[in-house]
């Protein structure tokens, strides 16, 4: 146990030396750090509770997405029937308990409809061979056909919704890409958002809450100017199936609403670019926009056909403006006025450029820490660990005297350095509970040394010579040290996998601390003891 080959000594000292090099950058000012070689520039990653910032869990409203998928499916079915050369006649096509139920007039109609509906079922992921289909078509009876959206498709839609939401959120919250955001899916329907050092939390929340669904609709002038039709529409939402009522936005300042043609091809997806700017002729500000080529043509056609009618610009279910079409707009660009200030116009154009959120997001968890509180926690953590370290070191010196006390304390300080090195190297995040973990490790790390020393004391008492006592002391302590630390490690690992956020940070430092304390007490301190023994060859042990 006490013999170390030269290569082994080199390996142990090398490990400690590399650990020291990896830990040092944390103590250096930024300037000096940049001069170090690559892997030695890394420092401990501070958690949001230490550097300040916002942690949010956003829940995606998937049910609305699935509802929308059903509505789209229904529209597609109706279109397919309408376009068919030999048009099948229907009684109705409607959503029914998460599926679409089509009832046809006769058995012959249903026979005609079946291939049309089966044609609508496309591969979920066209880039993949043997991809499952989007829908399943079943003939329930002579006249009834049921179209079900397959589970694979729902899963695909879910994934896409989350992915798209993450993309949009990133562009919205961090348009310039310098915030070091963390955006990641969490579970089935949630998104984790972490913004380090965030100061303007309210603004960020605002950007999360707005869907920014923009669309341009033709106004149904006949019904919109008819008081009776309007009041019916206001109550029920629509007068005819193809029309829908939308209220004016508050910023428009006139109350009421309009009935518009629901179907449109001009949506937020058409936008190539938008920007906020001053109104070219009047007071206030406008949002300038330009369409991509396809939509520009479509918009030109739509305006050319409807001169002297109005089109409504609808944002998140509210009409922000409804200008009169004076001439065909063929250039594919224009501006939206709607009682904007320069600031609100810029905000809106930022949201529009980032794209619309596919579904509504709700903040289901928020933990925001001001940077000043984070700094307080770090300071308190440093003071507490410093005093804890000092107390434990003094205690060890008092208990085991200068020599063995020093060995234990060297092991302890090496342990701390190695923890810092491991945290820097793996880029794991240090949280406030993580600091607690380190302080706890300081107290518990000497345990292995205490175990060994007590065993040595016992063996000496039983009459063994110093070298023999130390040899057996280390040997006999191995099993309990390993058993004890592996069980604690099991608890720490469980904590890591089941816990979340700051608790995980605690589990990480605790686990690293356990591993390092075994290394320093069992291997590093043993090397120190062996070296001391070889040099001094003591007759009695000062322990």
């Amino acid at each position: 146990m006490l013999f170390f080959s030269r290569s082994k000594i080199l390996m142990i000292l090398g490990a400690v030396f590399i650990g020291l090099l990896l830990a040092i950058p944390n103590a250096l000012p930024e300037k000096a750090r940049e001069a170090m070689p690559g892997p030695f520039q890394r420092t401990i990653n501070l958690g949001l509770d230490l550097q300040g910032g916002a942690h949010m869990l956003l829940e995606v409203d998937l049910s609305s997405i699935l509802d929308q998928a059903l509505i789209n499916e229904r529209t597609a079915i109706n279109d397919a029937f309408r376009r068919a050369e030999d048009r099948p006649r229907t009684e109705f096509v409607r959503p029914d308990e998460g599926t679409i139920l089509a009832r046809m007039r006769t058995k012959e109609d249903a026979d005609k409809a079946m291939p049309l509906l089966q044609n609508l079922s496309q591969p979920v992921d066209p880039t993949q061979l043997n991809s499952p289909k989007t829908t399943r078509v079943t003939r329930e009876s002579d006249k009834n056909i049921r179209v079900t959206i397959t589970d694979q498709n729902i899963e695909f839609i879910r994934k896409q919704t989350i992915e798209k939401s993450i993309g949009v959120l990133g562009r919205r919250i961090d348009p310039n890409g310098n915030l070091e955001l963390i955006l990641a899916p969490e579970g089935d329907k949630r998104i984790l958002l972490q913004v380090p050092g965030a100061q303007n939390i309210d603004e960020i929340k605002e950007r999360i809450n707005k869907s920014a669904n923009l669309s341009f609709h033709l106004v149904n002038e006949k019904d919109s100017t008819n008081e009776q039709a309007l009041s019916v529409a206001m109550e029920t939402g629509r007068v005819a199936t193809s029309d829908k009522y939308f209220p004016f936005a508050e910023s428009n300042g006139r109350g009421g609403g309009l009935i518009v043609v629901e179907r449109t091809r001009i949506t937020g997806d058409c936008l190539k670019d938008s920007s906020g700017g001053p109104h070219p002729t009047g007071p206030g500000a406008v949002v300038n926009f330009s369409f991509n080529v396809g939509c520009a043509t479509e918009f030109g056609r739509m305006t050319a056909r409807n001169i002297n009618k109005r089109f409504a610009v609808i944002l998140d279910g509210e009409i922000i403006t409804a200008p009169n079409i004076r001439s065909a707009i063929t250039g594919g660009s224009g501006y939206i006025e709607g009682g904007f200030t320069l600031e609100s116009a810029r905000d809106l154009s930022l949201l529009l450029n980032a794209g619309a959120l596919p579904a509504k997001l709700t903040i289901v968890e928020e933990r925001t820490v001001d940077p000043s509180l984070g700094a307080d926690s770090i300071r308190a953590g440093k003071v507490a660990s410093g005093i804890g370290l000092l107390g434990v070191a003094l205690f060890m010196w008092l208990s085991y005297g200068l020599r063995f006390g020093t060995i234990a304390n060297l092991a302890l300080s090496t342990n701390i350095i190695l923890i810092a090195a491991a945290l820097s190297l793996f880029g794991s995040t240090l949280t406030l509970p993580g600091i607690a973990g380190i302080i706890l490790t300081i107290g518990m790390a000497v345990d292995a040394n205490v175990l060994i020393f007590e065993r040595i004391r016992e063996e000496t008492y039983n009459g063994k010579t110093p070298i023999n006592a130390i040899e057996t002391g280390y040997k006999r302590s191995m099993a309990p040290i390993l058993d004890a630390n592996i069980t604690t490690l099991i608890a720490a690992i469980t904590l890591y996998f089941v816990g979340s956020g700051p608790v995980r940070g605690f589990a990480v430092t605790l686990a690293i601390g356990i591993v390092m304390s075994v290394f320093t007490a069992v291997i590093f301190a043993r090397l120190l003891t062996a070296t001391w023994l070889r040099g001094k060859r003591p007759k009695t042990l000062p322990i």
Binding site: E59, D202, K205, N209, T362, I363, V364, E365, E366, R367, T368, V369, D370, S372, L373, A375, D376, S377, R379, A380, V383, A384, I387, G388, F395, M396, L398, Y400, G401, L402, F404, P433, A436, I439, L440, G443, M444, V446, D447, V450, R457, E458, Y461, A479, D483, A484, N485, I486, T487, T488, I490, T494, L495, V498, G499, S500, V503, F506, L510, P542
Partner: protein
């Protein structure tokens, strides 16, 4: 150079008759467990928002805050269940502008009566905004140092996860000890751990200190610490079973406990030293955690000596070839 080591104060071969008082200890433990369960069912735990859902903000005003004014302002705005609580800032705390904070900070908890359903979740954020805007109007400018909003759905999941993690840790530990020792050791250790967990919950119920996610972390650490202690004693018991083949079992257990006694005392003391530093200096965020851990050191040490070891007798540990384990080199 003369080297002194105070550890010599501890007797080299103590023979404290721990095992002889096992019945008293058992009575005490059973009573404490009953009391803990009783407290837990009647008084319950003071769950933090991690487990109940809700909103907590910590604010910093320019002078010592007026608790009554803040409370009245909140009631005025319709937040009837609001809690207002002053807390001491941690050592050397600075405010946003870098000035030392000399006055108390304020923790304000908002409970929303109905926060289930879709609108409810958005309502939480809306209520937070209403509360901060309204407060600023009524009591003047303040800084928000910390905001925590947990939806009821999330808190339900956190609660489930918390219980699961403790149960899972106990189970895995049982497995490991079973694998390394005899089954009696595994069961004894897990009983001792369950004892520690129940008593910790009892203390949190008694003191009504906030029970949140970090306390779950603390409980799992207590499990780890107590286990550490238990395994050390068990390991010595296993060794002594081979060494003293003729001695009666209670005596063997007692010798093992005494053999490891000095280590138990020293490690508990160093751990306590570090934890007390954390408790006194760590600020309010870590008070509950370090309190739980300090309690855990005591209860964990107690349970290794008075619960885990005597349980081996109760579980009728057999002495024979099988106690040899895999390392019979004595």
């Amino acid at each position: 150079m003369k080297d002194i080591s105070l550890v010599r104060i501890l007797p080299q071969e103590p023979r404290v008759p721990f095992i002889n008082v096992r019945m008293i200890a058992a009575a005490f433990s059973v009573l404490a467990i009953i009391a803990s369960i009783f407290l837990f069912t009647t008084k319950g735990l003071n769950y933090g928002i991690d487990f109940t859902g809700g909103t907590v903000i910590e604010i910093n005003t320019n002078e010592d805050p007026d608790d009554e004014a803040i409370r009245n302002a909140l009631i005025d705005m319709g937040f009837n269940g609001a809690t207002v609580q002053g807390i001491q800032p941690p050592v050397g705390a600075l405010d946003q502008e870098g000035n030392p904070i000399t006055h108390r900070l304020m923790r304000i908890g908002l409970q929303l009566a109905d926060e289930t359903g879709e609108e409810g979740q958005g309502a939480q954020q809306a209520a937070l905004k209403r509360a901060t805007d309204g407060l600023e109007e009524r009591i003047g400018k303040f800084y928000i140092r910390n905001t925590e909003v947990v939806g009821s759905q999330v808190s339900g999941e956190l609660r489930r996860k918390g219980i699961m993690s403790v149960a899972l840790a106990l189970l895995m530990v049982l497995g490991y000890i079973w694998f390394r020792f005899e089954w009696q050791f595994g069961l004894g250790a897990v009983f001792a751990l369950a004892h520690d967990v129940i008593l910790t919950i009892g203390v949190f119920s008694l003191t009504q200190i906030e029970f949140n996610l970090t306390i779950i972390a603390a409980i799992l650490t207590i499990v780890g610490y107590s286990l550490n202690d238990t395994v050390i004693v068990y390991d010595r018991i296993r060794e002594n079973l081979r060494k003293f083949k003729k001695k009666p079992l209670p005596e063997v257990l007692n010798i093992a406990i005494n053999d490891t006694l000095s280590r138990t005392i020293l490690t508990s003391l160093t751990t306590l030293l570090a934890l007390v530093a954390l408790y006194v200096l760590g600020g309010s965020a870590l008070k509950g955690f370090s309190f739980a851990m300090i309690w855990g050191v005591f209860v964990g040490t107690y349970s290794s000596i008075f619960v885990a070891s005597p349980l081996l007798l109760a579980l009728k540990l057999k002495r024979g070839a099988n106690t040899g384990g895999e390392r019979a080199e004595v």
